[in-house]
Symmetry: C2
Subunit: 138 residues, 2 copies
């Protein structure tokens, strides 16, 4: 079971990498770097930089950079939080929401596509292991 866990983890990891890599160009067309996209996609759920950093396990300093870029590109706006003047409440612009939705759609499409396209062995292995893991919870 330990070995299977490792295989599962590896396969899953690889699948996500491949999907992300395949979408990099599409994201670039939308004007988004990979990391910027992660931040953009998180803004609605976590409207403050500190929250984003915690949610995405990114250093605060990095979030500062990505937020700056996203603001410069017009995808988000900073507003001062009246309740706490230290906070920068982040707001999606119309363009930002649209770019995010397109990006997520591209990612989802690629994910589905790849799952059907990875090596048959890898795929059935992934399916078997996920199934097993999900049907016999610890």
């Amino acid at each position: 079971m330990t070995v299977d866990g490792a295989q599962l983890w590896t396969l899953n990891q690889r699948l996500l990498s491949v999907v992300m890599d395949a979408c990099t160009e599409e994201l670039a067309d939308l004007g988004l770097e990979t990391k910027e996209f992660f931040v953009l996609a998180e803004v609605a759920a976590s409207p403050y930089p500190a929250e984003i950093a915690a949610a995405l396990l990114l250093p605060k300093a990095s979030v500062t950079v990505y937020v700056r870029n996203l603001v410069a590109k017009g995808f988000i706006r900073r507003e001062i939080d009246d309740a706490d003047l230290r906070r920068h409440r982040l707001v999606l612009t119309t363009e930002g929401a649209e770019a995010r939705d397109r990006a997520l759609a591209a990612l989802a499409a690629e994910y589905d596509r790849r799952l059907a396209r990875i090596t048959p062995q890898d795929r059935s292995e992934l399916q078997r292991i996920l199934q097993e893991m999900l049907t016999s919870p610890a």
Copy 2:
């Protein structure tokens, strides 16, 4: 379905990040940086730097760096490939194989543990979506 694909991707992505993050310290105890671990775990399947770069979607220059570190730590050895003198055939040392196995075990344990521990909503959502995706292939 597009939305679900995006949710699935996001949840999965987050789960893997959290697992990796949780294991970082354990890997460090084994003497491994995260990226180095990826390379170490790939050596058996892809014994040449160029193969590793292709498999892990890493730049060749980065693989050079990680391989150098792994060699310095005594986890792998470079051998010249008699059939092609440009190639560096990479060989796991005993210590390397052991470190890799320990690292994979740690990762697997953490993965199982986290799957049982993420937010109940997140978890059932993940389960539902994965199930759906896997039982109705495109």
